[in-house]
């Protein structure tokens, strides 16, 4: 889940409002590609019915082990389910997990990070200590243990696990960022103006960190997506649910790869990857936005030799 690593070196430097972002997105091809992918998945998640005639993707209603055909674009599983349909219906849960878990994790990161940095002193020590502890404890073993014993891993359990284990990275960044902003003149002036702390934090400081917060969200979403898929893949999800991870779990347990049904595990994995990529692309674009130095440079071929010294 190192996809989480987002570069923030440039972010500290920029003070940018949300509006600037949209403008910048329009300029970044990466961001556009990412957004398009994301959009497509969102549509599929909202109205899966549009993309397949199958209504009960998990029902065993077809001949098992059919190859791809006009009937079943990706063939059927060894249990007689339409793989394409499962893929379509699986989108929703995977997306929800990523977004919701990502969202909550981000909120937590922002709260902890900003508070720590802004209050400073003991609260800061305590909070950042907690943060780093959560950061370095190898979470996945914990997740396995937790998810295993939490009995049936409902969506909720998975979400909780993801949020609890996913917030620390962002909190760390928020704190660092906030610290760097703390003594910026515009905050100073706000302080001089005698604004309330909360006002300063939310009205003055946070907006300047939009790009970082977005990045943290994308990072957390990516982490949630991948981790959830991993959990479901090793059977700690709910085998009845329709999600890509669950599909992977079934295909693996039915040895799809070995029994000549590779599509069964290629397709859902590919979707996870695509969604992940869309997050990563958007995130990367944000790096470029908040840190202009990163933008691709159009090399201009100037033949120095032709500049004659007349």
């Amino acid at each position: 889940m190192t996809g989480l690593l987002v570069d923030t070196s440039g972010r500290a430097a920029t003070r940018r409002r949300g509006s600037g972002l949209t403008a910048a997105i329009r300029r970044s091809r990466k961001a556009q590609v990412g957004l398009v992918i994301l959009l497509v998945f969102c549509i599929v998640a909202v109205v899966p019915g549009l993309f397949t005639s199958v209504r009960h993707p998990n029902a065993l209603q077809f001949t098992p082990r059919l190859g791809p055909s006009g009937e079943h674009w990706l063939g059927t599983t060894s249990l007689g389910q339409d793989i394409w349909a499962q893929l379509v219906y699986g989108t929703r849960q995977s997306l929800v997990i990523a977004v919701v878990a990502g969202l909550f994790a981000t909120v937590l990161s922002v709260l902890v990070g900003v508070t720590a940095a802004y209050l400073g002193g003991l609260p800061d020590d305590v909070l950042s200590m907690i943060t780093s502890v959560f950061l370095v404890i190898p979470t996945f073993p914990l997740i396995i243990i937790f998810a295993t014993y939490a009995g049936k891993s409902t969506l909720i359990v998975v979400l909780i696990v993801l949020v609890v284990t996913g917030w620390s990275y962002g909190a760390n960044q928020m704190r660092a960022q906030m610290l760097s902003l703390r003594n910026r003149e515009f905050l100073e002036s706000a302080r001089v103006r005698g604004e309330r702390r909360t006002y300063i934090i939310f009205a003055e400081a946070l907006p300047t960190m939009t790009s970082l917060i977005v990045a943290i969200f994308l990072g957390a979403a990516l982490y949630s997506l991948l981790t959830a898929a991993g959990l479901q893949f090793i059977g700690l999800g709910d085998p009845d649910s329709s999600s890509w991870g669950t599909m992977l779990y079934w295909s693996e347990s039915q040895s799809a790869l070995q029994t000549g049904m590779p599509l069964w595990s290629i397709a859902p994995g590919l979707c996870v990857a695509l969604l992940g990529v869309s997050f990563a692309l958007i995130n990367y674009a944000f790096d470029e936005i908040s840190n202009p130095a990163l933008r691709p440079v159009r090399r201009r071929h100037v033949k120095r030799a032709r500049v004659r010294n007349t």
């Binding site: 159009r298 500049v307 010294n309």
Partner: protein
């Protein structure tokens, strides 16, 4: 002056080459940035001369292209900026057409650079001494002893305890860092030291002290200085020539005193008004409303006319040339009575300009 034999030899040959013509001659220099918004011409046909031992000040608001000009001259532009025309003749050799290899032969030995805010200009993870040493090693094969000795010398020169050679940048005060930078720039006592607002970030008193010191060193070692600042008052007592830049162009150039006493360009006047007294608190440019134009599409006619109190019809359409005003040159229609003839400086180089864009 150093007791090193090398220096005497070098100084001789410098004296020799310098005897014919200026030390540095910039001709119609053009620099463009490739930005998302398109091409920005940050330096647009600048001409200037620097003679041996001369102190030339370049002033202007931030964003008027003076730093770019500086880096263009020193060939230190960042990738997105490109020299699209003109020449920079240093002791007769055109720096613009030089390869990095050829440049590295001149750099630091013959001309060095002092940047603003030494905190950023010094490598934070190595000691001052180390940074001195690598500059020496890059250009000379000295024994360890010689190297060490030279480092100590220059530190003494700028009045810092050589002990600080072992210090890291973050361990020095702002003033000391700037001095250290200058010390580093003098390692080879070059003919030309290019200074980009070296005093910025220091309080007014420290600024004065540093200026005085620079001036002393210059007189003592005889190197020429190009000194960029946005604070006109700072250089008034130190520079021989004053070059006022606006929107990537030279708007006024002439002997410092002359320009100060009777600034012939409204912009120069504005700059002067901006600094009523040297010790007084820095205030916004009361003299001139508004801010420099967006260089991606500069105004037609005189680039200053949108902010100019004296703008007249011609200013809106007719880009003014440089007019001679007494000892100075001014790019303003107000001075239209006598056109300038700065010998050997063509107004335009369409031919070159063409080739630049291919």
């Amino acid at each position: 002056m150093s007791s090193e034999p090398e220096f005497e030899i070098r100084d001789l040959d410098v004296a020799y080459t310098a005897s014919d013509g200026p030390l540095l001659e910039v001709r119609d220099l053009r620099v463009e940035y490739a930005t998302a918004g398109g091409l920005v011409r940050a330096v647009d046909g600048v001409d200037m001369k620097v003679h041996k031992g001369e102190f030339v000040a370049v002033v202007g608001e931030s964003g008027c292209g003076k730093s770019t000009l500086l880096f263009a001259i020193a060939r230190l532009l960042s990738p997105s900026a490109v020299i699209t025309g003109g020449s920079v003749a240093f002791r007769g050799q055109n720096l613009v057409t030089m390869t990095d290899k050829e440049l590295n032969a001149l750099r630091w030995r013959d001309y060095s650079v002092v940047m603003q805010s030494a905190m950023n200009a010094l490598n934070p993870v190595t000691t001052i001494g180390a940074q001195f040493k690598d500059s020496i090693e890059a250009h000379a094969k000295w024994s360890v002893a010689q190297t060490a000795q030279r480092c100590v010398e220059v530190m003494k020169l700028v009045g810092i305890d050589p002990i600080h050679l072992n210090s890291y940048p973050h361990q020095l005060s702002g003033g000391m860092r700037q001095r250290a930078m200058i010390a580093m720039a003098l390692l080879f006592t070059p003919d030309l030291v290019i200074m980009d607002e070296p005093t910025s970030g220091l309080d007014v008193v420290a600024q004065r002290l540093l200026m005085v010191q620079i001036k002393e060193l210059q007189q003592k070692l005889g190197f020429a200085v190009i000194f960029v600042t946005h604070d006109m008052s700072l250089v008034s007592h130190f520079s021989d020539q004053l070059l006022v830049m606006y929107a990537g162009q030279v708007v006024e150039i002439g002997p410092t005193r002359a320009v100060f006493d009777s600034p012939s360009h409204p912009y120069s006047r504005g700059l002067l008004d901006a600094f009523p007294s040297i010790r007084g608190p820095r205030v916004e440019l009361t003299g001139i409303a508004g801010s420099p134009p967006d260089l991606s599409n500069p105004p037609d006619g005189c680039r200053f006319h949108p902010r100019c109190a004296f703008a007249m019809a011609a200013c809106f359409t007719e880009p003014p040339p440089l007019y001679r005003v007494g000892p100075a040159l001014s790019r303003c229609h107000l001075n239209a009575h006598e056109p300038a003839e700065l010998p050997g400086v063509p107004r335009e180089h369409p031919g070159i300009a063409e080739t630049m864009r291919t």
